[in-house]
């Protein structure tokens, strides 16, 4: 097998060659050993189709949904993997975003069966003691597709069940509608018969009635109708006039009240005026006050001058008296005089204040009088206006009252006429009783005809509903509901059988998987001659370890033992489920086991390579960078 890489991992270009048999690939850590193996796995597995394969390849570090791609060299746009195996060329070109630009159709089963590394899902799960193997099932069988088909068929079956329910509902509805239609048609038929019967009866009566009597009856009936109409009109008019009259009376009362109020206001103003002095009296008194005030002011000046003089005299100690002109100042005399003068001044001031206050009051009185005298004409004018309005209304009132009286008389007269005509009609009615009967029949006929119309509407509505309910859409066709029921039942039966078949297929797949896997494990372990065996439960798809008669769970094994179980399972998987491509790759794991177990495993693979022409690649970490081929068991010891 030739492998050529370009822009893959850390390699710009790289070439490797593996020969038939067991190849031991030895390289230092981080020099591209795993990249080389992953590239081979990718060339045989891509393109990936299932979700589980994508998850597996992500876990192995072969491919990622999001960039950067683990295999494409950093900085390169795309990477190339070329594998030449058994005369076939497998080329894979993958770009840095993960898009496959070119590939030869591979099979994703390769990832699960033919390539084992510490990152493989199988190795990781077994390493942590997980015994469940259900997850491999979709990878190596069609069970996932059967389950998919099961879900689809189940959902279609549910849809047909819903269709069936709808069809049954419609059928039931139809039954009720048809019953209702029948009922309505019978009702219509009976009404039609009744209409016919009454029409004949009316015709018969009308032939028998005296034409003159009929004419008289018609005239009186018509008169009576006219009178009744006339009465209604008079009543309406009377009501209107009476209302108008009532309104006017209310208006008059309001006006009278307003006039009364104005009179009372005018009286109050007159009384207040009587209490006030006339303008002449006010002016006269004001003149007197002014005169007295002038005299008081003069007097005050004099008294004040005297007071000043006395104040000066009081300060003198001796000499001529400034008052009397005598030789000595008489202190006591001055003192008395001073007091009296002060008293006089005080009296004058007091009188001035009194007179000024009176003067202010007079001014106010003058203003009041003036205002009141101005109000009187306004009130008078308002009163006059109201009086005029009152007169106007009074003039309308009388004709209205007369009209009311006239209308009342008219009404009485009309009622009398109605009574007379009614009496006449009663008399004629008595005479032509049959006419009345015909009238009743006419009335009944009208009602029946209306009912017939409504029944006809009802019948057309029901007919329309029957039409709408009688068919339904079933996938691609509009079918009669009865047919829809038949079709749905048939489809349901078919789909239920199909579901049963799929269910069995799924069971078969699981059982077949377990049986095939168990057989393969048994053969591998027999060949390896290990002290234990492994068994998969066909229902639960769980693996247990058998040691003689004892069984133990994976979780109870040591780490190394779990790794050995993982390798055995991987080989068994390859043998049972994907022997198509005779290529088996194990990265490190085996070469880490103890010498005895590793030897047994390599011996097994050597045998497989000889008997089934397998090409095996076992990678190990080492100082040398080489690919060593083992062709016989003797050479195995060289590995350790």
């Amino acid at each position: 097998m030739k492998v050529r890489l370009k822009d893959i991992g850390n390699f710009k270009t790289y070439e490797a060659k593996f020969d038939e048999g067991v190849n031991i690939l030895e390289m230092q850590n981080a020099t591209g050993k795993s990249v080389l193996l992953k590239s081979i796995a990718a060339a045989f597995s891509f393109p990936l189709k299932s979700r589980i394969a994508e998850e597996c390849s992500e876990s192995l570090g072969i491919w990622r949904k999001d960039p950067p791609q683990p295999l494409v060299r950093v900085g390169a746009k795309e990477g190339l993997i070329e594998v030449e195996f058994n005369g076939e060329n497998r080329t894979l070109i993958i770009d840095s975003s993960g898009e496959i630009l070119y590939n030869v159709d591979g099979d994703e089963r390769f990832l699960f069966t033919s390539y084992l590394s510490p990152s493989s899902p199988l190795f990781r799960r077994i390493s942590i003691g997980e015994d469940e193997l259900k997850w491999i099932l979709p990878a190596v069988s069609k069970v996932e597709y059967y389950e998919r088909a099961y879900r689809v068929v189940q959902s279609i079956l549910d849809e047909f069940k819903t269709y069936l329910e709808e069809a049954k509902y419609r059928t039931n509805n139809l039954k009720n509608l048809k019953e209702e239609l029948e009922h309505r048609k019978m009702e219509l038929e009976s009404i039609d018969k009744e209409i016919e019967r009454i029409s004949i009866e009316i015709e018969k009566i009308e032939k028998e009635v005296d034409p003159e009597l009929r004419e008289e009856y018609n005239i009186i009936s018509s008169n009576l109708e006219k009178l009744k109409k006339e009465k209604q009109e008079i009543e309406a008019k009377l009501k209107e006039v009476e209302k108008n009259l009532e309104d006017k009376k209310k208006e008059m009362k309001k006006l009278k009240d307003e006039i009364k109020k104005l009179d009372s206001e005018m009286q109050k103003v007159g009384e207040r005026l009587k209490k006030l002095r006339t303008f002449e009296e006010i002016r006269k008194r004001t003149g007197e006050i002014e005169k007295e005030l002038d005299s008081l002011r003069i007097n005050r000046v004099e008294v004040y001058a005297e007071l000043n003089l006395l104040e000066s005299a009081k300060k003198l100690k001796e000499g001529v008296c400034p008052l009397c002109g005598s030789g000595n100042v008489n202190k006591k005399y001055i003192e008395d005089k001073l007091n009296k003068t002060k008293e006089r001044l005080k009296n004058i001031d007091s009188r001035i204040r009194v007179l000024n206050a009176e003067k202010e009051r007079l001014k106010e009185e003058y203003r009041d009088r003036k205002n009141l005298e101005n109000i009187i004409p306004t009130l008078g004018s308002k009163r006059q206006q109201k009086e005029t309005e009152l007169e106007n209304i009074s003039s309308i009132l009388k004709p209205l009252e007369l009209e009311t009286e006239a209308l009342k008389s008219e009404l009485v007269e009309c009622e009398r006429k109605i009574a007379d005509e009614s009496k006449k009609l009663q008399y004629i009615e008595h005479k032509i009783k049959e006419v009345n009967e015909a009238g009743i029949l006419y009335e009944r006929l009208g009602k029946l005809k209306a009912k017939r119309d409504s029944l006809k509407d009802e019948i057309s509505r029901i007919t329309m509903e029957i039409k709408n309910n009688s068919t339904m859409r079933l996938i691609d066709a509009e079918v009669e509901v009865e047919r829809a029921i038949q079709v749905c039942k048939e489809r349901i039966q078919v789909l239920e059988k199909v579901l049963e078949w799929i269910e069995n297929k799924i069971k078969e797949q699981k059982k077949g998987f377990a049986e095939k896997f168990n057989k393969s494990i048994e053969e591998v372990i027999k060949e390896l001659d290990f002290e234990f065996s492994a068994l998969i439960d066909p229902d639960e798809l769980k693996i247990t370890i058998k040691r003689g008669e004892f069984r133990q769970p994976i979780a109870s094994l040591s780490t190394t033992e779990r790794s050995i179980v993982a390798v055995i399972l991987q080989i068994a998987l390859k043998e049972a489920f994907y022997p198509d491509i005779p290529l088996f790759i194990v990265d490190e794991i085996i070469m880490d086991f103890d010498r005895e177990r590793a030897t047994k495993l390599v011996e097994y693979l050597l045998k497989a390579s000889k008997e089934r022409r397998w090409l095996v690649i076992l990678a190990k970490v080492g100082e040398r960078k080489e690919i060593k081929r083992i062709t016989s068991p003797k050479e195995i010891s060289m590995l350790f």
Binding site: Y145, R148, I156, I475, W501
Partner: protein
């Protein structure tokens, strides 16, 4: 009796047809949508009946 036998044989034909279709879809690794579309088409009133013409 004869009619029942007819219906049964007719059903068998239809079941066989749908199973064949599902097998084909599984081999083609069809998606759920593709499966649904194909099965529904097979169950269509017109098509379904044309396959077992004369029985309805």
């Amino acid at each position: 009796m004869e009619n029942n036998r007819n219906i049964h044989s007719e059903q068998s034909i239809n079941i066989k047809r749908i199973i064949e279709l599902i097998n084909k879809l599984i081999n083609e690794e069809a998606s759920e949508e593709e499966m649904r579309e194909a099965i529904i088409k097979e169950l269509e009133v017109k098509k379904f009946e044309s396959q077992t013409e004369g029985h309805w």
